[in-house]
Amino acid sequence: MIVLADRYMYTAFARDVVRGVSPEWIRKLYSFAIAPDMAFYFKVPIEVAISRLLGGTRGQLKYYEAGMDMNLNQDMTESFRIFQSNILAQYEKIVDECQLITMDATKDIEAQQNEMRRLVGEALKDYKPRRGTHGRRTVFWRRFDVPKSE
């Protein structure tokens, strides 16, 4: 099967290091993770991120994504700018270290999606699709409920 993961260990490599965790430690912690066959990094300049979050359907920033727990600035947008800029700097290191594919996320969605499909299609050239249920979707794995933290 094909697994699509929305964020992966690289998120922790970037965020947790900005929060003061040792870069070596966080990599050892996640050493049990399976290295993905492909990993994409959608890159946007900080100002684009801010204007999208403030101008889009959400219209506001979240407490932790603005790094408000770190006392960087009383103003949430300013705190977001500082915190996320540090995260972007970490991602730049991770892109090289972990061979992430950088996508220009300032382009429109269709252009990005076409580019992704081209890259994924190439990677799946020799992949034989397999299905167990002839298209009927069933619950594969049911786990106990854990209260949502976010």
């Binding site: 003061g20 430690w25 050892k28 106990f144 209260p147």
Partner: protein, 247 residues
């Protein structure tokens, strides 16, 4: 803590040398009487004027309920098992242990990272990963290991609270029933604790002795750590408050 240090990769924002208190870990398998002895130690220390904080495995505000829930599901695998406990420990370290040590308290830890090391090793056969994970832990000033043999432990547990799924390591399928599994699982843990006792220089206390003898032995191990500056300061007699002069 004199020459305080982290076990591995520590917290980059905290210098452990700023911690004035003492950290004492009490280790040992299930049913050796850790909580009873810790309660007695706390009273003994408090009566002498020391500030004491007791902290116990899985008792963090953040994680205790989640761990209970996960255990009820009976489908914890190695990684989620160890990471839940590591998260619980991290929460207690930052919110209980470090603040208490910073204010000069004696911290009594009911189980410490060595419990996680033993349990993870028994499940994975690998020692390194879990030790790396707990790199941010402070190395205790003293680790007392209440050691018991599995035969005595079995009798004691059956006589008191009985065996449960996780204490029997039923997730490991070591034996056909709770009893067999308990014996095999606890033997493996004791074996690993014995190895760590040498590696990390635990003070080993024979948990088959009477509670009084054990308590006396524990106190004698702790005594050398107690320095006068840990006690609640007393005002010198010439500085006691005088009644306000009447005019």
């Amino acid at each position: 803590m004199v020459d305080a240090r982290y076990f591995g990769d520590g917290l980059t924002y905290l210098n452990p040398n700023d911690l004035k208190g003492k950290l004492i870990a009490i280790e040992g398998t299930d049913g050796v009487g850790r909580s009873t002895h810790i309660e007695m130690l706390q009273e003994w220390l408090e009566v002498q004027g020391y500030g004491v904080l007791t902290t116990g495995w899985t008792r963090s505000n953040l994680m205790s309920k989640t761990i209970e829930m996960a255990k009820e599901g009976n489908i914890l695998d190695r990684w989620s098992f160890s990471l839940l406990y590591a998260t619980d420990f991290a929460d207690r370290l930052e919110h209980e242990i470090i603040p208490a040590l910073r204010s000069g308290f004696i911290v009594l830890a009911d189980r410490y990272i060595y419990t996680a090391f033993a349990r993870d090793f028994v499940r994975s056969g690998n020692r390194q990963w879990v030790r790396d994970v707990f790199g941010f832990a402070l190395v205790p000033d003293l680790v007392c290991y209440l050691r018991i043999d599995v035969e005595t432990l079995v009798l004691r547990v059956i006589e008191t609270k009985g065996m449960n799924f996780w204490e029997s390591g039923m997730d490991l399928r070591l034996g056909g029933d709770l009893y067999d599994s308990f014996k095999k699982y606890q033997s493996l843990l004791i074996e690993e604790f014995d190895k760590m006792a040498e590696e990390f220089h635990f003070e080993v206390v024979d948990a088959r002795k009477s509670p009084d003898e054990i308590q006396t032995e524990l106190r004698s191990k702790i005594q050398p750590l107690l320095t006068p500056h840990l006690r609640t300061p007393e005002l010198p007699s010439d500085r006691t408050i005088q009644p306000a002069p009447t005019s």
